[in-house]
Amino acid sequence: MSGIKEILTIIQSEQRKAVLEHEAKMILRKMGIIVPPSTLVKTKEEAIEAAAKFGYPVVMKLMSVEVIHKTDYDAVVLNLRSEEEVKSTFDDFMNRFSSVDVAGVLVEKMVGKGLELIIGTNTDPTFGPVILFGVGGVMVEAIKDVVFRLCPTTQPQALQAIEEIKARVLLDGFRGTPKVNKEELSNLIVKLSELAWEYKEYIAEMDINPIIANEDGLFPVDARIILK
């Protein structure tokens, strides 16, 4: 887990509460969590190179401390299938966000469709760090199919939490959707609960949403961490 504290300390020293997605994913990788391959690029050439390396389709996301809710600003473009599309998206970002402080563009291997889950953490005034698991995606707050546990949690606790959501049947393969690997999912819950617990002096809230579960596995495709 070496290096996580350093990343968090640097962000704090910049008087920032929002950890940018590429930084959050770096932290996740350091926790041993597998995230889709991605690179932060500064130039169009680097973007093209990264896309070619990962293979199409790719996703491009603008990284800026001024653009936290990326989808609200159309700062996430999915399913880019060619060098041309990567180039024009890069240009479009640079035009539209010319007046904001841009840290770079995150080029990421696109993850195929699947079931969208969420794992998040929060600092509860009564219980301290708690972890949430449930049905993810943009509708998460409307659906509210989630379950909480104390951080840090154990694998048996996480496995039980998984069985407590109302939509648990979706995890077992529902109308042709692939089965979710619960062992892997519970590992992910445990690791994130450990992250929130170990770094409770720094981390206030965290959303790993969505985590896409498909035939290839579990993929945290967006990560948001808010510091204290």
Partner: protein, 473 residues
Amino acid sequence: MKARLEKFFNAKTFCVVGASTTPNKPGNVVAYNFVNFFPGKTYLVNPKGGELYNNKLYKSVLEIDDSIDAACIIVPARYAPLALQECGKKGIKNIIVTTGGFSEIGDEGIKLQQQMLDIMKEFEITVIGPNCLGLYSPALGYDTMFLPDSKLKRPTNGPVSIFTQSGAFGAAFIDQLSRLGSGKWVSKFISYGNASDINETDSLEYVGQDPDTKMIIIYLEDFKNGREFMQKAREISLKKPIMGIKANRTETGAKAGASHTAALSANDVIVDDLLNDAGIIRVITWDQLEDCVLVFGTQPLPLGNNVAIVTDGGGAGVMASDMVSDCGLTLAKFSAEVQKKLDDTFPSFYSTGNPIDITGSATAEDYRIALESVYDDPNVDSIVNICIPVIPDLDIEEYIKITKELAKRKEKPFVTALVGGEEADYATAELLKDDLPAFESPGRAVRALGMLTEYTKYLQKHSVDPKSIKMED
């Protein structure tokens, strides 16, 4: 480490500070309780001096020529800091402060409570309260409940320990238990009020390790030490059932945060999930608590989910079946042998499926056959015995006798619902006299079984045999 409350309950010398000579005043009641029931030595303190209940009234604790293990301070709030300080000087380390008028009344009280905290720190005193009923244990003759027995009836010794944030809740619940069945229910009662020191987590720790406590009932409005409470509860709930009310459910909604997780973090949603994870059976209404005492206190845990229902009324059976499904239980499928016996014995207009409906033609003998058959069926984990006693051929005395015999076997949980008027009330009272669970509606009876089964499922999930949970040694 020994639980901090142990030193209170293990006291051999006890001092009542503020013993009053005016009948029924709090300081008078507590003095009476200790002088009459406490097996250790009781000292009474009142600055006026004199005598009370043939015991000397010391003008100050400092005059007592003995070491004091624990004390109860029952003086007006403004005198409490001074009384506490004198106890501190005397070297008393365990003190119950029942008096109200502290943090619960606002600024002035908060100041007073802070003064108390400073004194506690200086003299290393452990305090229960202020603003509480303190402690009650019938077996130990320990009773700081300052309401006289003529008003607040005391239940006698039994398997249940209770701890409560609200004193009024505690008083009412204690009074209720005194008239529930034999009244033999209570092991330890802890009312910690403002929780200036001893709180819910200390209370849980104590009753968790107390060998005389077989089940735990809680009433909380908030947590002083929520994280540790949940961690301790996870361990204790594998050895004895914990159930109760966490009120104040709408207290705080989720704070708008930057994340979805923060937005979904409503206080009660988290509390509910954590209680569930810790194996605490959460009930919402007051009546459910008494039902908990009746079923957990008197019946074994079911070993599975399968319920048999016997009824003389179709509607009652249907409603009970609905509640079976609402509680996550299932209707048992009788074994071939039992099914054949029922089919062969009963007339064709009786319904011999589950629920077994022995109709308005039922006799006490029909009840006996139906109930004994399902009780002995290995496919049945628990039994609901429903009776609407208005039917013409039912001998109620005989029915009561049969029901008592089965409910006392205690191999499987057996609950009874008696629906109706005078005769139903009479039969209910007869069963309750023997501490057998009887309810006035099928739904309530099934719901009680549901709580028992919920606990079984929790234990089984954690690889604990439900048979290891016993109310008696």
